[in-house]
C-alpha cells in the first residue's frame, strides 16, 4: 500500500484516501473539431506506459478532494515527488515547455 504525500494537505497519507487518475500533463485540445479522427483518438486513448518514471495524476478523494501530480517509478513504486496541477515536475522533466496548464 502506497504512502502518498498530498501537496495540498502537506501530509503523507495512506493510499486508501486517494484514487488514481491516469497520466498527467495531458492537455485537452483547444479546438477538438479541427482534429482528425486519428489525432483525437491519440488524445482519447493513447497513454504512455513506461517502465520507470511516470508523471501521473492522483486525487485526494477522501481528503482535500484536490487533484495533484506525482512522479512515480512504475518498477519500484517509489514516488519521487508530488506537485500541484499546473506546475511542472522537477524530476524527469517534460520534454518541451508548452502552454500546458495541466
Amino acid at each position: 500500500m502506497l504512502h502518498i504525500y498530498c501537496p495540498h494537505c502537506q501530509q503523507h497519507r495512506e493510499e486508501d484516501e486517494f484514487s488514481y487518475s491516469g497520466e498527467a500533463h495531458i492537455q485537452r485540445p483547444s479546438n477538438p473539431e479541427i482534429l482528425t479522427d486519428k489525432d483525437w483518438g491519440d488524445y482519447l486513448f493513447f497513454r504512455k506506459n513506461p517502465r520507470g518514471l511516470h508523471h501521473e495524476m492522483w486525487y485526494h478523494a477522501a481528503g482535500c478532494r484536490r487533484y495533484f501530480n506525482a512522479t512515480r517509478d512504475t518498477v519500484s513504486y517509489e514516488i519521487m515527488e508530488t506537485y500541484p496541477v499546473g506546475t511542472r515536475p522537477q524530476i524527469a522533466p517534460l520534454p518541451t515547455i508548452g502552454d500546458d496548464a495541466t
Binding site: 500500500m1 492537455q27 477538438p32 483525437w40 486525487y59 478532494r65 484536490r66 487533484y67 495541466t102
Partner: protein, 1008 residues
C-alpha cells in the same frame, strides 16, 4: 496414557514445564505432553514417527524441522466451526485438550489406501501442473478436485467462525523482524536512542536460535542474555514487543503486515477478546533479522520418517528435552552440525557416526566429538536411507572433494535417525517481497538479500552471517543505522563488544544432491521438495525437456508450490537445475518469494469488516417507515431502497402490478432521496455545466429545470439527470443514485485541471435533502392539501419548473419533473423532516388511495415511457444517438462540450451500431429475461450472429403485456421486424422490434 509414554522425553532439561502435563490427541490417539511443547515436540516425545502421507506418492512422512520450514507435519486443528486447516505441527503450541489430525492419508497416515493402490504418482508425472494448465480450464478443475480429495490439504470450516479478529494500524521508527541474537541486539540499540520500536517474532518466546544454544554471551548463558535484553526492552515505553507474531508480508513504502496470534496457544477459540490481530505497520526503517533455515542434503529415500535437519534435532533436545530416536547418524558438510551429535551423545544416546563430506576435517568441534568417542568418517556422505515407515539404517559411500562423484564401495550403518546438514539458507523471503533480487554468494554457499528497494537492512544469519558474535555485532550496527536514518542520534551507553565462546569453524562444503551409484533418473527417489514430492530426477527431466529458466522449471515440477513455498527444498532444487544445465547457481538464479511468508487466516485479514460491517449501508430519512410497512429492499450502491411494498400475502408481481396501476390511475409516492444532488455555485457555473452536459444551461431561467446527459470524452453516456437553476449563479444538479460520487469527482477533475479559470464551486448535498415524489393524475390534488403558498396551476407551475414553498409548514422545494410520465411533484425538504413530510403526504393522499411504491415499480413505469436508466440500458459503450436521444444534444454550443468531438468519430457514425428499441414478445404474457441475447435467424447454426441484447424487461400491468428495452444493431431502422432470443433453457422467444416508448408517446400526461 501417562507421562511415561513419552519414550523420547529426556529426564531433565528443556524449556518445558514438567509440572504442567497436557493431554492431547493426534488422529484420535491420546497422548501427553508438557506446557512449553509444540505439537511436533510432543509427538516426537511420544515416539510418533509417521505424521503424514506424501502428496503424490502417498509415502509415509515424519517431522523434519522445528519451525516454519516444516514441509510434512501439516495438520488440521480441532473440528467444527473453529477448525483450522494447514497448520505446521512445529508451530502449534500445545494446550490442554488439543485435537489434531493429519490432513493427508486415507483412512489414516499409518495405513494409507491411496499408497496401497499406488496409482496416484503415475497419474501425476512431472510437468503435470504445467501441462494441465495448458489444457482447457475445466479439465484442471477436475484434477484439482481429485488432488484435493486424495492428497488432502485440510478442510475449511463450513460454519461461521466463532472468533473475532482485530486490525491495528501502527506507525514506528524501526520495525525489527525476528527476535534472535541479531534482532534483539538491533531492537535494543534502536530503543536506546529513543526511537519507537516494534519487534516481532513468530515464536512464543523471544531468543530465536539462542533458546536452544549451548553458547554463552559475555560469560553468561545465552538464555540469560536473552532474558536481560527482553527486560530492558520492556522498560521502554516506546518499544512494543510482539511474540507469536509473524511478519508475513513486506509491501510498498515500508508497509508490513503482522499476524499476532493472541489465543491460539490456549485453545481453538478465544475465551475473551479477539483471537488474532492483524497489525498494519508503516515503518520508517525495517531491520530484517529473520534468521536462516538449515538446508538438508538430498539423497536417496531422504524422505523416510527419521530423516531430520541437524539443527532441528538439537532444538528438540535442548529446548524441549526430546530426543527423537535411539541411534543417530549425522551427515554433514560443515562443522556446526557436529553440535547435534555432541548434544545427542550427551543426552545419553548412541551416535552411530558422523559422516562428513569434506576430505579432511579438524577443528574444535570435531575434536570435541572425537574426544567423546564419536566415530567421525570424513570424505563420506549418506547416499541412501533404509527403512519404510522409519529409518532402519543408512548407506554411506566415499565421495570426491567436489561432491560430484562417489569414489568407493558403499557400506551400510544401522541407525534410526539420520540428521543432515548441507549448510544454511538465509530467510530472505521478506527482503524478496520488496522486489530486491537475491544474489548467490559462493563463499557463504547461500542466496543473500539483494540491494534494498526500500528502507530496510538485513542483519545476522538472514544476511549470511554464521557466527553468534557476528550476528550480535551486525544487529547493533544495523539497529543503530536504522535509528539514525529515522532521525535519532546514537545513545551514549551502547554495548560495544560481545564475547561468545563459540568454536572456530572450517569452511563448509558446497554439497546439495549426494550422488548415488545409479544415475539420478534410476536411483531411488531423491526428494527435493518433500511437500509436493518433487525429486531430483524430476528437475533434471525439466531441464532435459527445455524448461531452463528457474521460473519455468519451478512451474514444470511444482517445486516450491506448496504451503511451505519450498523453504527447505528450493536452494537444493536450483543447485540441481544449475548442475543439469551446466551453469553456476548464480547464473541460474532464484525464484522470487511472495507474501505470505506462512499461511495467514482469512479471519485476521477480514477483521471486523464482516457481516453488517462489511460495507456501510446508507438509509434515507424515511427508512424506518419503509421497514415498518414491510418494504423489501434493493441495494443501490450502498443505499437500501424499498423495492416494493407487498401487502398481506402478495407476491412480488402482484405487488408491483398494484403499485403500477395505482400511479397511472390515481397517485403514488416514492422515496427518491437517494438521487445524487450537487450544489453548484459561482459566476461561471452555467458555463461550466454547459461544457459538461450535451445541452446548454446558459439561458436556463431561475425557477426552471433541464434534463441533461453527461458524456465521457469518448462520447459515451456516463450519467444523466435534471439540473435546476436555483438563483443567479446557483444550480442544483441531480445525478443517478449510483453515479453521485463519480460525477462529483468528474466535475472536480475538469474544474481543477483544464478549466481552473472558471469560478465554480461544488458541494455534495445528497444527504441534506429528503425527497418524496408524488406522481399520478391526482398528484396536484394531494399537494394542494398540504401546500397553500404555491400556485399549483399548470400555467404558473408547469412541467420542468421548480418552486420554493411550504409543505405541511416545512420549507420545501418542489420540482415538477417526472420519471413516470405522469403529473409529478418531487418534494424536497431538509433531511430531518423526511419522515414527517412523507407521513403528511400519505395522510393528504389518503382519499386518493395514495400508494407507496418502490424501485421495481419505478423501473416498470419509466420503461413504459422508454426512459433509460444509465448503467442498465447503457453500459459505457453507447452514445445519445444510440439511445435515440439525439434531441438532447445542442447543435450550436460555442464550446465543444465533453464528448462532442467523439460523436463525429467514424465509429460513432457507423449505421450498424446497437440502438435502443422496444421489444414486444409474440406471446404477450412472456417476459424476456434481461440480458437475453438477440439473433435474427433462430435456425442459424452455432455460433449464432448476435444482434444485441435485452437491457430492461418487465410485465406492464397498465398495458396488459410484457415490455422490453433492448439494444439491437441498426435497430432504429428495423421497427416491425421480428427477432429471436435463444435462452439458456433451450426455448427461443420471438419478439417484434417496436418503438421504445410504449405508453403515452406524445407525453401528454406529464404536462397536465
Amino acid at each position: 496414557m501417562t507421562t511415561a509414554d513419552q519414550v523420547n522425553r529426556l529426564e531433565s532439561g528443556g524449556r518445558i514445564h514438567r509440572e504442567k502435563p497436557l493431554s492431547f490427541t493426534f488422529d484420535g490417539k491420546k497422548m501427553i505432553g508438557y506446557e512449553g511443547d509444540t505439537l511436533a515436540s510432543a509427538l516426537l516425545a511420544n515416539g510418533v514417527s509417521v505424521v503424514a502421507r506424501s502428496f503424490k506418492y502417498s509415502r509415509p512422512r515424519g517431522i523434519v524441522g522445528h519451525g516454519a520450514e516444516e514441509p510434512n507435519a501439516i495438520i488440521q486443528l480441532g473440528e467444527g466451526n473453529a477448525t483450522v486447516p494447514n497448520l505446521r505441527a512445529t508451530q502449534v503450541e500445545l494446550y490442554e485438550g488439543l485435537q489434531a489430525t493429519a490432513v493427508s492419508g486415507w483412512p489414516n497416515v499409518e495405513f494409507d489406501l491411496m499408497g496401497l493402490i499406488g496409482i496416484f504418482g503415475r497419474l501425476m508425472p512431472p510437468g503435470f501442473y504445467y501441462k494441465t494448465f495448458m489444457r482447457p480450464q475445466r479439465l484442471w478443475m477436475t484434477y484439482e478436485h481429485i488432488i484435493r480429495k486424495a492428497a488432502g490439504l485440510g478442510k475449511a470450516p463450513t460454519e461461521a467462525d466463532p472468533d473475532s479478529y482485530d486490525k491495528l494500524n501502527q506507525h514506528c521508527d524501526v520495525l525489527v523482524v525476528g527476535a534472535g541474537p541479531a534482532g534483539l541486539a538491533a531492537a535494543l540499540t534502536a530503543a536506546r536512542t529513543g526511537a519507537r520500536v516494534i519487534i516481532a517474532d513468530e515464536q512464543q518466546g523471544f531468543g530465536g536460535s539462542l533458546l536452544a544454544s549451548v553458547l554463552s554471551i559475555n560469560a553468561q548463558p545465552a538464555a540469560g542474555w536473552v532474558a536481560d535484553t527482553i527486560d530492558e526492552l520492556k522498560s521502554f515505553d516506546s518499544v512494543q514487543l510482539l511474540p507469536r507474531s509473524t511478519v508475513f508480508g513486506y509491501y510498498d513504502h515500508n508497509f508490513l503486515a503482522i499476524l499476532e496470534r493472541r489465543s491460539d496457544h490456549v485453545g481453538l477459540t478465544a475465551i475473551t477478546g479477539s483471537r488474532q490481530r492483524l497489525h498494519r505497520v508503516r515503518a520508517k526503517q525495517v531491520v530484517l533479522a529473520t534468521g536462516a533455515i538449515e538446508r538438508p542434503l538430498v539423497f536417496a529415500h531422504n524422505d523416510v520418517p527419521g530423516v531430520m535437519l541437524a539443527s532441528s534435532v538439537s532444538t528438540y533436545i535442548q529446548r524441549y528435552a526430546v530426543i527423537p530416536g535411539r541411534t543417530l547418524l549425522l551427515s554433514t558438510t560443515n562443522d556446526g552440525a557436529y553440535q547435534t551429535a555432541i548434544d545427542w551423545h550427551q543426552a545419553g544416546r548412541h551416535v552411530a557416526a558422523i559422516v562428513d563430506s569434506r576430505p579432511q576435517v579438524n577443528g574444535p568441534l570435531i575434536e570435541t566429538a572425537k574426544q567423546l568417542g564419536i566415530h567421525v568418517i570424513s570424505g563420506h556422505a549418506v547416499i541412501e536411507a533404509l527403512g519404510k515407515k522409519r529409518v532402519t539404517g543408512a548407506i554411506i559411500a566415499p565421495i570426491n572433494s567436489t561432491g560430484a562423484a562417489l569414489t568407493g564401495t558403499p557400506k551400510t550403518l544401522s541407525c534410526d535417525l539420520i540428521a543432515s546438514s548441507g549448510g544454511w539458507s538465509p530467510a530472505i523471503h521478506l527482503s524478496s517481497h520488496t522486489g530486491a533480487k537475491p544474489y548467490w554468494d559462493d563463499k557463504k554457499i547461500a542466496f543473500l538479500p539483494g540491494n534494498s528497494r526500500q528502507q530496510e537492512q538485513s542483519a545476522g544469519s538472514a544476511n549470511g552471517c554464521w557466527t553468534l558474535q557476528g550476528c550480535l555485532q551486525e544487529g547493533i550496527e544495523v539497529g543503530a543505522a536504522a535509528a539514525q536514518k529515522a532521525g535519532f542520534s546514537p545513545a551514549v551507553d551502547q554495548p560495544v563488544d560481545f564475547h561468545c565462546n563459540e568454536p572456530l569453524q572450517q569452511s563448509p562444503h558446497a554439497l546439495f544432491l549426494v550422488p548415488h551409484p545409479k544415475s539420478t533418473s534410476r536411483a531411488p527417489s531423491q526428494f527435493v521438495d518433500l511437500q509436493l514430492d518433487v525429486t531430483a530426477a524430476a528437475i533434471e527431466l525439466a531441464a532435459r525437456e527445455g524448461y531452463e529458466s528457474v521460473e519455468h522449471a519451478k512451474r514444470y515440477t511444482a517445486m516450491g508450490f506448496g504451503t511451505d513455498q519450498g523453504k527447505l527444498g528450493n536452494i537444493n532444487g536450483i543447485a540441481i537445475l544449475a548442475n543439469a544445465l551446466g551453469q553456476t547457481i548464480s547464473e541460474t538464479g532464484t525464484t522470487m518469494f511472495r507474501p505470505a511468508y506462512t499461511p495467514t487466516t482469512f479471519g485476521a485479514i477480514a477483521g471486523r469488516d464482516i457481516g453488517a460491517l462489511f460495507d456501510p449501508e446508507r438509509y434515507t430519512a424515511m427508512h424506518r417507515w419503509h421497514q415498518e410497512h414491510g418494504a423489501t429492499w434493493e441495494n443501490v450502491g450502498q443505499w437500501k431502497r424499498p423495492w416494493y411494498f407487498p401487502q398481506q400475502s402478495e407476491h412480488m408481481h402482484e405487488a408491483v402490478n398494484r403499485e403500477c396501476l395505482a400511479v397511472r390511475n390515481s397517485v403514488g409516492i416514492l422515496d427518491a432521496s437517494t438521487l445524487g444532488k450537487i450544489d453548484i455555485q459561482g459566476p461561471d457555473a452555467a458555463e461550466f455545466i454547459t461544457r459538461i452536459y450535451t445541452n446548454s444551461y446558459l439561458k436556463l431561467a431561475i425557477g426552471k429545470c433541464r434534463y441533461g446527459v453527461m458524456l465521457k470524452e469518448d462520447g459515451m453516456i456516463f450519467d444523466d439527470g435534471v439540473t435546476a437553476c436555483l438563483a443567479e449563479n446557483h444550480y442544483l444538479m441531480f445525478t443517478t443514485t449510483g453515479g453521485a460520487a463519480g460525477v462529483l469527482a468528474w466535475l472536480e477533475l475538469w474544474q481543477q485541471t483544464e478549466w481552473p479559470d472558471l469560478q465554480v464551486y461544488f458541494t455534495s448535498v445528497t444527504d441534506h435533502w429528503a425527497t418524496a415524489t408524488v406522481t399520478g393524475p391526482n398528484a396536484r390534488k394531494v399537494i394542494a392539501k398540504v401546500c397553500d403558498d404555491i400556485d399549483l396551476s399548470n400555467d404558473n407551475f408547469a412541467f420542468m419548473d421548480w418552486r420554493d414553498g411550504t409543505v405541511a409548514e416545512i420549507k420545501a422545494r418542489l420540482f415538477r419533473i417526472s420519471f413516470t410520465g405522469e403529473l409529478s411533484y418531487e418534494v424536497n425538504v431538509p433531511a430531518h423532516y423526511g419522515r414527517f413530510i412523507w407521513e403528511k403526504l400519505l395522510e393528504a393522499g389518503k382519499e386518493f388511495d395514495i400508494t407507496p411504491y418502490g424501485t421495481e415499480t419505478m423501473h416498470v413505469l419509466r420503461a413504459e415511457k422508454g426512459f433509460i436508466i444509465v448503467g442498465q440500458d447503457t453500459d459505457g459503450s453507447v452514445t445519445p444517438h444510440d439511445m435515440n436521444m439525439s434531441w438532447v444534444i445542442a447543435k450550436n454550443k460555442t464550446f465543444s462540450f465533453l464528448g462532442k468531438r467523439s460523436l463525429e468519430r467514424s465509429d460513432s457514425l457507423r449505421d450498424q451500431r446497437k440502438q435502443l428499441v422496444g421489444l414486444k414478445t409474440r406471446e404477450p404474457q412472456q417476459v424476456l429475461p434481461e440480458g437475453a441475447q438477440i439473433v435474427n435467424d433462430q435456425n442459424q447454426l452455432l455460433p449464432m450472429a448476435m444482434q444485441g441484447h435485452v437491457t430492461s424487461s418487465y410485465y406492464s400491468a397498465n398495458l396488459g403485456h410484457s415490455i422490453a428495452l433492448a439494444v439491437v444493431k441498426g435497430g432504429l431502422n428495423r421497427l416491425g421486424e421480428t427477432v429471436y432470443c435463444p435462452l439458456a433453457d433451450g426455448r427461443i422467444l420471438a419478439a417484434e422490434i417496436v418503438s421504445s416508448v410504449f405508453y403515452d408517446p406524445e407525453g401528454a400526461r406529464q404536462h397536465v
